[in-house]
Amino acid sequence: MSGGHTTMRCGEFRTSYRADTTIFPTPMSRRVALGAVVLAASFPLWLNAYYLNLLIQIGYYGIAALGLNILVGFTGQISLGHAAFFGFGAFCSAWLNNRFGLPVVLAVPLAGLLTTAVGMFVGIPAGRLKGLYLAIATLASQFILEDFFARAEWFTGGSAGALAQPFTLFGFAFNNDQRFFYVVLVAVIVMYLAGANLLRSRDGRAYVAVRDHYLSAEIMGINLTKYRILAFGSASFYAGVGGALYGHYLGFVSAEGFTILLSIQFLGMIIIGGLGSVMGSLLGTAFMVLLPEVMEASAQGLGGVIPGLKDSVAYLKQMAIGLAIILFLIFEPQGLAHRWKLTKAYWKLYPFSY
């Protein structure tokens, strides 16, 4: 009997610690997350292709942004070459499928793994470099990879680009926005859960420890070089998978899309969303994808009132992104994730929150 009692007590402890370490801390937040997934799953039934296209963009860019956040926000390193890894994943998945006939479902994760390998190779100097020097080293990797895309015709199709087949599963092709949306939705859920899990277990804590105080991290038994390189690997995996999905969605991959501009936009996404926040990565991506669209729509609306607005909207869109990044850095350096937290706290206490 007493044995049974001990087991029970032990079980109690276990459940309480388990409940204490969940991704969604309250039953309410779990219900909200579940509700959001169900709602998202219904989108293709009632949203038109324009909106689905935007959501799909948020999905694949959001996956890559989470990777960059793991590297920059959680591990405290910098990368100006994230777009190149995104591009590498896109080319790689198309190549694996075209050249070896590997099914796209397998080509996407395998492209992620190969991008990881490239990212870790580029990350080797990261074991030694910090700050500005690392920024320059990653910038170099951006240009080297861009150059590789232009030259390696066997891999990328050179200046002509590469065709990418649609995502198929058991003969069913996810070849339009309605269908592909589900592929991206599942990928986002899987990749974000994996990211959240990583960050609440051993290696994720090690990343944050390296960021917060690398000397004391080393005293705690953390191999700095290994984790700095591993962070590049993790970031590249996410970039590779995001890029692969991008390729199979568009059906065509060409090097023009993966310039330093996209690398900076990725940084903008995580700054706006919140450095060191998993959900912030997705919020920031949504902001970056939607902002130009909102500008476009407002320009259409105001076009009659303000002459010349329609013609300059292309410039305005570019400028708005830069402006948003600067404004967030100044006024909300912790990003949308922080704002979201405050809003949640407000509603929790409502109506006594003042």
Binding site: Y17, A194, N197, S201, R205, D212, S216, I219
Partner: protein
């Protein structure tokens, strides 16, 4: 002077006196661009001992601990831990062998919770990695994390920081942060724990608590302790042996009673009321 319960004058060490040393530091020297921080310092620490290092500011105490933990590499001499030469090993490798430490200037992971800070201490004992960690529910990462969580909660109970376990480390008071740092070092399960001024900046009550924790660590958790501390009352009470550093040289080593009587020590560190003749006799620490 000290408000601590008086421990018996000579604290007996649990292990036999003749036991092989846990740590053997052999004639290490350390220079910083012309400044001699340490000059041919040798000492041994036996298992289960509380070994204190005292000396004036700038004497080289922290540098010495840095050599033992691997932060600095001595320019000369060697350091053996458990009989293995560790002189060339990185700090993280020494951690795996069983050396843990706290810092004189706080070195917590300021944006993490107290709990996560201490969990980082379990890093080298955990086996889950980026892959199994990402899968979490499949492959045992969750089970392992929760097991270690339980061990960490024990340390949290021991150091009486239950109420702040979810707090962000950077927001805590100085005294509490010192305590969290100790918790993190204990979480490493080290055989040898290095404490650099664990009571600096604490009030009397906090000092008393800290002294009790150190005694418990030594007597109940079986850890060997090397401690740098300025509060002589505490040092006299908790140490088995004391080493005195001055200008990077060892000037004395021995039991607390012997140290307090040592004329070199009086000159260098303890008192001003020593006649010049004593210094002349000894020929200075050179």
């Amino acid at each position: 002077m000290s408000a601590l319960p008086q421990v018996s004058a000579a604290r007996p060490v649990a292990s036999a006196v003749a036991a092989a040393p846990l740590l053997a530091v052999d004639a290490i020297s350390l220079t910083f661009g012309g400044i001699k921080a340490l000059t041919e310092v040798s000492f041994e620490v036996r298992p289960q001992e509380v070994f204190s290092i005292i000396g004036p500011n700038g004497a080289g105490k922290t540098s010495l601990l840095n050599c033992v933990s691997g932060r600095y590499r001595p320019s000369r001499g060697r350091i053996a831990f458990k009989g293995t030469d560790v002189t060339a090993l990185r700090p993280n490798e020494r951690c795996h062998l069983g050396i843990g430490r706290t810092f004189q200037n706080l070195a917590l992971f300021n944006h993490m919770t107290v709990l996560d800070n201490i969990m980082v201490g379990r890093h080298h004992l955990l086996k889950n990695n980026f892959f199994t960690g990402a899968l979490y529910w499949i492959g045992g990462a969750q089970r392992e994390e929760l097991e270690h969580r339980r061990a960490v909660e024990e340390i949290i109970d021991f150091l009486e920081i239950t109420h702040i376990r979810k707090a962000i480390a950077g927001t805590l008071s100085y005294g509490l942060r010192k305590r969290v740092e100790l918790a993190r070092a204990i979480a490493l399960k080290p055989d040898l724990i290095l404490l650099d001024e664990p009571m600096a900046g604490m009030n009397l009550e906090e000092k008393e608590d800290m002294a009790r924790y150190i005694l418990d660590l030594n007597e109940e958790w079986g850890m060997t302790v090397i401690m740098i501390e300025h509060d002589m009352g505490v040092v006299m009470d908790v140490s088995h042996r004391i080493m005195v550093l001055d200008f990077g040289r060892k000037i004395a080593e021995g039991a607390p009673e012997a140290i307090i009587e040592n004329p070199h020590v009086k000159t260098a560190y303890l008192g001003a009321d020593v006649e010049m003749s004593v210094v002349a006799d000894a020929g200075g620490p050179a």
